[in-house]
C-alpha cells in the first residue's frame, strides 16, 4: 500500500517502449500468455465455478435460497456490520491521515506502524484478542456481565472485530496522497481568510475525494468479506451470522441443496468483489488525474 502513490504516478506518465528494452516478439507473447493463463486458472475459473454451482439447481432454487430466513439474516448482519465499520473507519482514517500528513509530532512513525497492525496480524488472532477481552473470563467480563452486555457471540462482537480488521484501509490510502499534496494549499486558504472548517471542506476534501472514495470501497469490501476474525468472535451460534460465515455453514451442511445455497450466497459476495474491482479501477484512474497534473508533467518532460 505504501507504494501506491509511486505506482499511480508512473502509470500516469507517458510510457514508451524504447528500442533498448524491446524484446523479440515471441518473448513478449510468451510473457503475456503466461500472465493471462495464470489469471485465468486462478481467478477466472474459480469465479465461473461460483456462478455455475450457484445456478446448478436452476434459477428457481437460486431465488429460493436467497429468500431463506437464515440467508436473509446473514445479509442483514453483513450490511449492518458494514454500516458501522465503514463510516467509523472513514472518519478515523481521515483524522489519522490528516494528523500524519499535515503535522509534525513525536511518535509519528509509531502511529503509522500501529495503523498497519491489522494488516500484519492474522485475523484469527484479532478475533481471539476480542474473545480474551470481552469473552467469559476475559478482562472486561465482570463489568460486562454486571451490566448485562454481550459482545462475544453477539452482533457487537462482529462489528468490533470488523472495525479492527478494516481500520487501515482509508488511512493507508490517504496518507501518501495527502503527504504528496503537502500543506501549501491549506496555508494559502488560511492566508486568504478561510476558517479551519472552510479550508477542510473547500480545499482538503476536494483534493482527496477520489482517494477517499477508493479507500472507502476497499474498506467496505473487506468489512463485508471478513471471515477469520468474525468467525472466532461468533463461535458456533447460528443466529448471528454474516454472509461469509453463512457460506461456510451451508457448505459444511453437505447436501446438494445446501451446497447450491452456499454458492448462491458466495455469488453475492463475488458480485460485490466484481463491483469493487470496477469501481476501484475507475477511481484509481481518477486519483491519478487528481493527484497533481504538475507532478505528472514534470515526469513527462
Amino acid at each position: 500500500m505504501a507504494g501506491t502513490v509511486a505506482l499511480k504516478l508512473t502509470s500516469g506518465a507517458r510510457r514508451q517502449t524504447t528500442e533498448a528494452i524491446a524484446e523479440p516478439r515471441w518473448v513478449r507473447w510468451l510473457l503475456i500468455g503466461v500472465t493471462l493463463g495464470f489469471l485465468g486458472l486462478f481467478l477466472f475459473v474459480p469465479l465461473m465455478v461460483v456462478f455455475v454451482e450457484a445456478l446448478s439447481q436452476g434459477w428457481r432454487a437460486y431465488v429460493y435460497s436467497l429468500a431463506d430466513a437464515d440467508t436473509q439474516s446473514a445479509i442483514r448482519m453483513t450490511l449492518t456490520t458494514a454500516a458501522f465499520a465503514v463510516p467509523i473507519n472513514t472518519l478515523f482514517g481521515v483524522l489519522a491521515a490528516w494528523a500524519i500528513a499535515k503535522f509534525q509530532f513525536v511518535g509519528k512513525s509509531v502511529l503509522i506502524t500501529l495503523i498497519d497492525l491489522p494488516y500484519s496480524v492474522s485475523p484469527v488472532i484479532a478475533g481471539m484478542i476480542f474473545v480474551m477481552l470481552f469473552g467469559r473470563g476475559g478482562w472486561f467480563w465482570p463489568w460486562l456481565e454486571a451490566h448485562d452486555i454481550r459482545i462475544v457471540y453477539a452482533p457487537a462482537g462482529i462489528i468490533i472485530a470488523t472495525l479492527f480488521v478494516t481500520f487501515p484501509f482509508v488511512a493507508r490510502e490517504l496518507i501518501p496522497l495527502m503527504q504528496s499534496q503537502g500543506t501549501e494549499e491549506e496555508e494559502a486558504a488560511r492566508l486568504l481568510g478561510a476558517s479551519g472548517l472552510q479550508t477542510f471542506w473547500r480545499i482538503t476534501l476536494p483534493n482527496i475525494k477520489w482517494g477517499l472514495l477508493y479507500g472507502v470501497i476497499l474498506c467496505n469490501a473487506r468489512a463485508m468479506g471478513e471471515f477469520g476474525a468474525v468467525s472466532v468472535v461468533v463461535g458456533n451460534i447460528a443466529s448471528t451470522n454474516t454472509m461469509p460465515l453463512h457460506v461456510e455453514r451451508l457448505y459444511k451442511g453437505g447436501c446438494d441443496s445446501e451446497l447450491a445455497a452456499a454458492f448462491t450466497v458466495a455469488s453475492l459476495l463475488a458480485m460485490l468483489a466484481l463491483v469493487t474491482l470496477v469501481l476501484k479501477s475507475l477511481l484509481q484512474w481518477k486519483t491519478t488525474e487528481s493527484i497533481s497534473p504538475e507532478e505528472l508533467r514534470y515526469t513527462g518532460d
Binding site: G193, I203, P293, E294
Partner: protein
Amino acid sequence: MGIEARNITKTFGTFTALRDVSLSVATGELVALLGPSGSGKTTLLRIIAGLEEPDSGSGAILFHDEDVARRRVGSRQVGFVFQHYALFRHMTVFENVAFGLRVRPKAHRPGRNLIKYKVMRLLKLVQLENMAHRYPHQLSGGQRQRVALARALAIEPKVLLLDEPFGALDAKVRQELRQWLRRLHDEIHLTSVFVTHDQDEALELADRVLVMNEGRIEQIGTPDEVFHRPTTEFVVQFLGQVNFFHGRLEGGKVHFATLAMESPEHAGAPTQAARVFIRPHQLDIGVERSDQPALEAVVLRIHSAGPNVRLELQAKSGERLHAELTQDRYRKLGISTGSTVYVTPREVKVFAEKT
C-alpha cells in the same frame, strides 16, 4: 512604517533559523530578502505572514504601526505568493482568485456581481482575462505565477509577501516577469517583501536589499550600497564572483600576492593578517609591463560569448584569478590562451582577519 519586525528569534528543535532579526519596510517600498538556502529568509517571510510563530517572548510584528503578532493568519490581511504558487488545483482561475472574497463572513462578503467585477479586474491587471475558466494545470508557469499574484491581491492586502516568486520559471520568462512585477509595483505601490537567492533579481528589482546569512542580517541597503559598499565578507562573496587573497595590513597599506595597495580605511590599524577581495571587473589587464605594480599571469581560458569577456588566469605567484573586460578592450589586447598578461587591481575590498 509598512512592515516592522523587531527582534525575531526562531528555533526549530536545535536549529536556530533566525537570531534576533529586526527589519523595517517603508510604506510602498519593495524589499528583497537575499541569502543562500538555509539563511532564514523564508522563515522570516513566513513569520511576517503569520504562518510560523517566532519563539515565545521574542519579537513583535507591526503592519502600518499596528501590532499583528497576536492576530491569526487569516486576519492579518497578507497577500502571499508561494514559490510553487499553491493554486487550488480543483478550481478554475476565476474561482482561485475569488476564493478570498467568497470565504468572508456573510456580513463582509461582496455580492455575486461585485465578486465577478473584482476578479475580472484583477485578471485584467495580470493579463489573464481570457484564462478565467482554465484550471491551473492548463497554464504555463508564468501564467500560474500571475494567477497566484491576482489571488493574493484579491483580498486587498495590507502587505504583499512573495516567496521565491521566480524560482520555478525558466530564465526568459523570469526576466520578463521580473520587469512586469516592478512595473506593477510602481503602479499599485503596495508594501512588498520578496525572498530570493538570486542576487541579480534582488539588485534589479528591489528598492532595498536585505542580505541574510545563517539566521542573521548581514547588511541592509539599496542595491547600489550592498553591491559597491559591502560591509561584511559574506556580502562581498555572495553578490557575484570575486577573487580572494590572503594578505597583511601594515601601515595603512595592504600587502597581498606580490602587490601592496593603499587601504585608507585601515590607516590606523595595527599590523595584522587581512582578507582581500577583488571583483573580476576591477582587474585591469595589460600585455606589457608598465610602471604600475602588477601581477604577472598566464591566460588559461577565455569565455568570449556574452556582453563581456571573462578570463581565467594563473598568476605567477600561484593564485587562480578571474577577470572581466569589455569586448572592445579584449580585441585591442589581442591575447589568446597561453599569453602572458599583467594584472592591476583598480579597487580592493579589505577585511582585517578575525582573531
